[in-house]
């Protein structure tokens, strides 16, 4: 492997979450009965005309600015012509030679430190509908078409061939997702198809400046699939070259089940899209001031936020990275810190217990039932000595499960820490009387014996006894 180097570029489609479609006012809502989120325009009926949704342009500019792109003052829409039944017009309105944005970049972390990945271009286009087959596409007796998705706005982000490993590709994809998600223009859900990725990949001898012949891999539906498919494809290409063969320029599809890439169509079978400017749409002339307004409205992006966490909250860079990995998590963290101004403690709870529980339950932070104020209340209960750290874990889990306030949980479950000296003294006396052997060991100098006795007191009080008090009372009596 070290004798070869991979060259990878990604083409990522991101569905924009505008209320209406890119060229008409049909809803973009996901799901819905087939062919109910449609109108004459997105169905491509005879005589209809597209009109650009201004919010789509705004969202594209937002995403482009977040990706450090240069916004084109003049861009246009083109028609990409090819026949497929999921396309109402048999052409897709896209942008060809004058995209809305170009020349951006994204920084990713690699083992050798931060690496800048170039973004060649970002353009807008309309999504297609989808075909519903009865079983496999090759044997289906008929197919149905659902045009609900036709005309949903997309941006396509095309990276430069700057990625060198499957790991880098995954990181780029994760970072891209985070940044775009931060801007609020997309849900970026790979499972729902609002984030899709195709990869271009070639290999070359290490040190070579020339690109090898590339293949394009489609059907990469998860970060894991992306990484696995690239790893497989690199191996495959090296093997072909090592055996004296040549790489064929072609489109391949990732077979998740078998863990292999398979040929889909060769260069000769590639479509001639016959791009030409869409005469139904006038060129987009974008006002610089408007772009600046959008730039000013951008939220703090992950890199800036991470730096600030390190600077303002004195968090380790790693922690800051985890806490800023999604906007929702960072927002949650910051809300907690506002309610309980100790970033380190809040961070530990979020990175430890909260992320563990979310992962275990396959949940995202936006589905979390614990509200920032509740976490703060729980931490305050600890500070006041109402509950111990150990009890807090139990309370936290209950909060996570039920969404109840920590006070309520503590009351309902009788988890209030016992700090009544008389009550604990009685238990301590009982434990001393019931464990004469251990008491003797301790008095003989076995420090460890004290731990056992404390444990017995805690057990008798179901963990509710104030640990400091138990220690003091035991020591006084021994």
């Amino acid at each position: 492997m070290a004798r070869y180097e991979a060259v990878i570029g990604l083409e990522v489609h991101v569905e924009l979450k505008t209320r209406s479609k890119i060229f008409c006012d049909s809803t973009t809502e996901f799901g819905g009965e087939p062919n109910t989120h449609v109108c004459p325009v997105c169905l491509g009926l005879p005589g209809v005309l597209p009109v650009v949704n201004k919010t789509v342009v705004e969202y594209a500019v937002r995403a482009a600015l977040a990706l450090n792109c240069r916004i084109a003052g003049f861009s246009k829409f083109d028609r990409k012509n090819y026949y497929y039944p999921d396309m109402p017009k048999n052409y897709q309105i896209s942008q060809y030679d004058l995209p809305i944005a170009e020349n951006g970049y994204l920084e990713i972390d690699t083992e050798e430190g931060p690496k800048r990945i170039g973004i060649a271009r970002l353009h807008m286009e309309e999504d297609t509908g989808k075909l519903v087959h009865q079983g496999a596409i090759t044997t289906t007796p008929y197919s149905l078409v659902d045009y609900n998705r036709a005309g949903v706005p997309l941006i396509e982000v095309v990276s430069e061939p700057d990625l060198r490993t499957p790991e880098e590709a995954r990181r780029y994809m994760e970072k891209l997702r985070a940044v775009i998600h931060y801007t609020g223009v997309s849900d970026c859900k790979m499972e729902e198809g609002s984030l899709r990725c195709d990869a271009n990949i070639s290999v070359r001898r290490a040190g070579s400046r020339v690109f090898g012949t590339k293949t394009e891999i489609k059907n990469l539906n998860s970060f894991k699939a992306l990484q696995r498919a690239l790893a497989y494809e690199i191996e495959r290409q090296i093997e072909v070259i090592e055996e004296g063969g040549r790489i064929v320029q072609e489109t391949r599809t990732w077979d998740e089940g078998r863990g292999v890439t398979l040929p889909m169509r060769s260069k000769e079978q590639a479509h001639d899209y016959r791009y030409f400017p869409d005469p139904d749409l006038v060129p987009l002339v974008i006002d610089e001031e408007w772009v600046e307004d959008i730039r000013r409205s951008l939220p703090e992006l992950p890199d800036a936020k991470r730096e600030r966490y390190v600077r303002e909250y004195a968090l380790p860079a790693y922690d800051a990275g985890v806490l800023t990995s999604t906007k929702e998590l960072a927002d949650f963290f910051e809300a907690c810190v506002r309610a309980y101004p100790n970033p380190k403690i809040v961070g530990n709870w979020i990175m430890g217990d909260l992320l563990r529980l979310l992962n275990a339950n396959n949940m995202e932070i936006d589905g979390c039932r614990i509200k920032p104020g509740q976490l703060a209340s729980m931490l305050q209960l600890m500070d006041r000595g109402t509950i111990s750290g150990k009890i807090a874990k139990t309370v936290f889990e209950e909060m996570f499960a039920s969404g109840k306030d920590p006070d309520t949980i503590v009351k309902e479950k009788g988890l209030v820490q016992i700090s009544d000296e008389g009550a604990i003294a009685a238990v301590v006396d009982g434990v001393i009387a019931g464990n004469p052997k251990t008491v003797e060991d301790y008095r003989a100098g076995k420090e460890k014996a004290l731990g056992f006795l404390v444990g017995q007191v805690m057990k008798a009080t179901k963990g509710k006894a104030n640990p400091e008090l138990v220690n003091r009372l035991l020591k006084e009596r021994l």
């Binding site: 005589g47 012509n81 026949y83 052409y91 139904d280």
Partner: protein, 491 residues
């Protein structure tokens, strides 16, 4: 005088004076349709019941003394490539023979709001591709002045309907001359407004950057009334212009003194029928006698207009017509084995020969490796042609020319030779390439057939076109001629 021979403004007077009702007018026009259309074949679909209902509604408004507009109750025919909610719209193609749109074109809504009464949908060349209406998938429309001749095209049905008294006004569409040329052949007024002046929403696209909806009428006054209704910005059409729509009747001024009129010599070149040339020269003399300055001028890139047009228009058409694949609506070949087979069979059987010819031309022009040499080059030449007009119209207020080098030709005369057919639009296509307005008005006869005078002007200067046209009309009488008046077997 028969009611069906009157103009909209004459009928408007009778309607508001309550000398006739809109329902009577509607009945009269349908009687005329029933009497004449077996011979003329102007209509693909007649909407009599709908029309009578609308007419009665307008009568109600007149009775109640509510605001009645100049087109209220006026029977108007609509070319069958303009979508009408609930009324079959075929573009004269087999592939859309059963298509009923769920919405109306913006122009149709505007006419409706103005109280106009739609009589039906008129015949045309399939997808507006043609110059004779012989490319209709259903039947050929006849010229009312001589039913052995074509009415011109592609809006031949609309032109013939207005000429024969089967409608008072009509809508057409003009991509390379499809309103002006049939208006000329049928002896009526036809205007192609500036590109962007009239919404294209609901017009079944042929070549989007050239298509423009316009109007047919029996005189220039009615033409202005039609423009008043159909012009204006439409948020549903990105290419429709935001401009202050004037009251076009304000330009109906019988005075051309001092107005500079240019005559592009290229448009009077050899190949122009002597009768046509004679009529145009007489028009030039008339304008001069009325105080206008008339001079020959030049549009040097004219010879490239035809090839330029036949690259751009088919290229756009090849993409615009891709949606007719049998998947969603319209004709579908039922004996297909798979989806590609369905596409191929549906389109092979659904489209006529001329449409297929242009789809192939356009697909070729846009193909990888040919784009720069053909389509891109054509766009560049288009700019040169536009600049020719800009220069000429800096010097002249309007340009005049024949609409077509000949009068209406005989049915079948040119069907075997597409290139000869294309040459019929030689004087009109540049106007579409330049995006400027053009009007055709009757200016005489050659061997019994009407000759049209084309007046071309600056972008959004329809007003000047109307003024020059109106002056000509008021000083001649051609617009008052009806086919049956010639005694030559006309209707």
């Amino acid at each position: 005088m028969q009611l069906y021979r009157l103009t909209a403004h004459e009928l408007h007077g009778l309607l508001t004076k309550k000398e006739i009702s809109a329902e009577e007018l509607c009945e009269t026009v349908f009687e005329r349709i029933e009497a004449a259309d077996d011979k003329i074949c102007a209509y693909i679909t007649r909407t009599k019941e709908l029309a009578l209902e609308r007419a009665r509604h307008v009568d109600g408004l007149i009775r109640n003394g509510e605001g009645v507009s100049p087109l209220s109750g006026i029977p108007v025919a609509v070319k069958d490539n303009i979508c009408t909610d609930g009324v079959r719209t075929t573009a004269a193609s087999k592939i859309l023979a059963n298509f009923v749109p769920p919405y109306s074109a913006t122009v149709v809504k505007r006419l409706d709001a103005a109280g106009a009464v739609m009589t039906g949908k008129t015949n045309m060349d399939e997808f507006a591709m043609g110059s004779s209406t012989e490319n209709s998938a259903f039947f050929t429309t006849r010229n009312p002045w001589d039913t052995g001749r074509v009415p011109g095209g592609s809006s031949g049905g609309s032109a013939a309907a207005v000429a024969a008294g089967e409608a008072v006004c009509a809508l057409g569409s003009d991509t390379g001359g499809s309103i002006r040329q049939p208006a000329s052949f049928c002896g009526v007024v036809g205007i192609k407004p500036t590109y962007g002046a009239v919404s294209r929403f609901g017009l079944i696209a042929f070549a989007s950057s050239l298509d423009q909806i316009g109007a047919f009428s029996r005189d220039v006054t009615d033409c202005a009334q039609m423009l008043n209704v159909i012009c204006g910005h439409d948020p549903l059409d990105s290419t429709s212009a935001r401009f202050d729509v004037p009251d076009y009747t304000g330009f109906l001024i019988n005075d051309v003194r001092g107005i500079k009129i240019g005559v592009p010599e290229e448009y009077m070149a050899e190949g122009t029928d002597p009768g046509v040339r004679g009529a145009i020269e007489k028009a030039m003399a008339l304008f001069e006698s009325l105080g206008a300055v008339v001079e020959y001028t030049t549009l040097p890139h004219s010879e490239y207009a035809l090839p330029t047009y036949y690259l751009i228009a088919p290229a756009e058409a090849s993409s615009n017509l891709a949606r007719y694949d049998g998947v969603r609506y319209g004709f579908r070949a039922e004996d297909a084995g798979d989806v590609i087979d369905m596409f191929v069979k549906t389109r092979s059987r659904g489209f006529g020969a001329e449409v297929k010819r242009r789809i192939m031309l356009g697909t070729y022009a846009l193909a990888a490796g040919y784009y720069d040499a053909y389509y891109l080059k054509a766009l560049k030449v288009r700019t040169l042609i536009k600049e020719d007009f800009d220069r000429a119209l800096e010097k002249y207020d309007v340009l005049i020319s024949p609409v077509s080098p000949t009068t209406a030709f005989r049915i079948g005369e040119k069907t075997g030779d597409p290139l000869q057919m294309y040459l019929s639009d030689i004087c009109t296509i540049s106007v579409n390439l330049a995006g400027i307005p053009g009007i055709s008005i009757p200016c005489g006869f050659a061997e019994g057939m009407p000759v049209g005078l084309q007046i071309m002007g600056r972008h959004f200067d329809e007003g000047m076109l109307l003024r020059v046209a109106y002056t000509f009309e008021q000083n001649t009488g051609y617009h008052k001629m009806f086919p049956s008046d010639t005694g030559l077997g006309g209707f």
